[in-house]
């Protein structure tokens, strides 16, 4: 089993990606010269008492998604269906946090396409959190950003324990 990763949010609460999710994300690493981009949505919950955020689940690419070496386009309805299903199955606690995708580079940075997509979602989508969480899975690291209300993109710092 993989260990959970923890990141500090601007409001000082913690965002934790659970071990099972880390394990699943790493299976999509673009290691092979021909492996294509993968992506999906991130699902999680807010803890009572501490208000920490827990990422429990992700969706993985569907047939209807487009996967290229340097491009990924996800379809709306298939991923949305899972968001809806998990929300009702979890007694309304599991909800949408944001998006993840892979990069064919060791330590990923967001492309212009990525940044525009994150800002657009912040503006147009009906989100659960007051910000959007974005994960990029590189070949050597997993990096997390949030996009806030002012469309400011902030890279989160990892917490070492």
């Amino acid at each position: 089993m993989c260990k959970a990763l923890r990141f500090k949010l601007p409001n000082n609460s913690i965002l934790q990606i659970n071990g099972d999710v880390i394990k699943e994300l790493t299976t999509f690493k673009q290691i092979e010269p021909k492996s294509t981009e993968a992506g999906g949505v991130i699902l999680g919950r807010i803890l009572k008492i501490t208000n920490h955020l827990i990422i429990d689940e992700i969706t993985i690419p569907f047939q209807s998604d487009i996967r290229k070496r340097f491009y990924f386009k996800r379809n709306k309805s298939s991923h949305q269906k899972i968001v809806d299903k998990r929300w009702s199955e979890s007694d309304k606690t599991e909800n949408y946090f944001g998006e993840w995708h892979t990069h064919a580079e060791d330590n990923p940075t967001p492309s212009v396409v990525d940044k525009n997509d994150w800002k657009r979602r912040m503006k147009n989508d009906k989100l659960f959190l007051p910000f959007l969480v974005s994960i990029i899975v590189g070949r050597k690291s997993i990096v997390v950003w949030i996009t806030d209300k002012n469309e400011k993109i902030i890279k989160l710092k990892k917490i070492n324990v």
């Binding site: 827990i54 340097f70 386009k73 379809n75 949305q80 968001v83 606690t93 949408y96 990525d114």
Partner: protein
């Protein structure tokens, strides 16, 4: 320290602990009754034996609970294993008058070996009464027999079977009462003492889970060996170090104990001595390979507990602990500790590069 996780430890302790045998409690009734029937048989045996003896030669004895019941560190057995009760019988005899201790042990054997529904067995350190129910072993009572009136004022345990070699038939110096007192009085503070007992119970249940179906001959550590390890390595975690306010943290106390046990045996074989005479090494029967296996399992326990301690999600933390302490450690449900939302988010399709 997470209060929800601490609550799970508390519930776990309530689930696995065995309450005092002599309290009026339904769960102990059968065990207590069985023990008392056996004690009655022992009494009748000696009453009868004494009829033929001169009053000054009468054999007298006293009994008391020993082992985990007496130390409040008893853990309910897992399914398919049996309860055990340890009883000390101290006779008013001098060991020097009985060169062969099995003569004395035989009295207890004869006193108990009278009924069809019980099996009485010779074991090296005791006489055991095994109760069987529907073909399954369910509980046993171990009678340890001591010579209590010796020239040096010490107790001596009668060891050996009738069929043992002469060297195995011997009187071993023993201090059952001192052991009980030492464990029970290690900490003056009630909270510290209770946490110490809980950590012992957690270790004992962990052992039952991780050595399922094995016995001490195949490398499973004994309950007393784990108790002695906790005795030397446990340190209470009941207060916030900064504010000095009560903050009970069983996870940290257990993790600290496990870490100290491992640290103390990095470069050496694992060993721990009974804290009272005869101060024997309680791991002396383990082979090197068995010790390695034990340390490996302890290391896994340590890793999982560390991961649980660092995990901010009480659901994930208790899931990790459940993997090492077993199914009686309840995993906190996600839904119980997470906020509800009014609707699922609505998200559009999107692209990334």
């Amino acid at each position: 320290m997470n209060e929800q996780v601490q609550k799970s430890f508390k519930d776990f302790n309530d689930k696995i602990r065995i309450t005092d045998l002599d309290y009026e409690e339904e769960s102990n009734k059968i065990l207590r009754e069985k023990r008392d029937i056996l004690l009655k048989d022992i009494k009748s045996y000696f009453d009868k034996k004494n009829e033929d003896l001169d009053p000054k030669d009468h054999l007298k004895y006293k009994w008391f609970n020993q082992g985990s019941y007496a130390m409040y560190t008893g853990v309910k057995p897992l399914e398919d294993s049996d309860f055990d009760i340890d009883v000390a019988i101290v006779l008013n005899i001098n060991k020097d008058d009985y060169e062969n201790p099995t003569i004395v042990k035989k009295w207890i054997f004869e006193a108990l070996d009278t009924k069809v529904n019980r099996t009485v067995k010779w074991k090296k350190p005791c006489i055991t009464v095994q109760y069987t129910k529907a073909g399954e072993e369910r509980y046993h009572v171990d009678f340890a027999i001591y010579a209590g009136v010796n020239d040096d004022d010490k107790y001596y345990l009668a060891r050996g079977k009738e069929t043992s070699n002469t060297s195995e038939k011997r009187w071993d110096e023993s201090s059952p009462k001192e052991l009980k007192n030492k464990i029970n009085n290690k900490f003056d503070d009630a909270e510290e003492r209770k946490q110490f007992k809980r950590v012992i119970k957690y270790l004992k249940r962990w052992k039952e889970e991780k050595f399922k179906g094995e016995n001490s001959g195949t490398g499973k550590p004994t309950g007393i060996a784990l108790t002695a390890l906790a005795y030397s390595h446990f340190n209470p975690r009941i207060k916030d170090v900064f504010t000095n306010e009560i903050e009970i943290d069983d996870l940290d106390a257990l993790l600290y104990t496990v870490t100290q046990i491992l640290n103390s045996s990095i470069w050496s074989e694992i060993e721990v001595y009974l804290p009272v005479s005869p101060y024997n090494n309680l791991f002396s029967e383990m082979t090197l390979k068995q010790m390695e296996k034990f340390k490996e399992k302890l290391t896994t326990l340590k890793t999982k507990l560390e991961e649980a301690q660092g995990n901010i999600d009480p659901h994930e933390a208790t899931k990790l602990i459940n993997k090492v302490l077993g199914s009686d450690f309840i995993v906190i449900e996600k839904e119980a500790i997470s906020e509800r939302s009014s609707r699922p988010a609505i998200t559009s399709s999107g692209e990334s590069a």
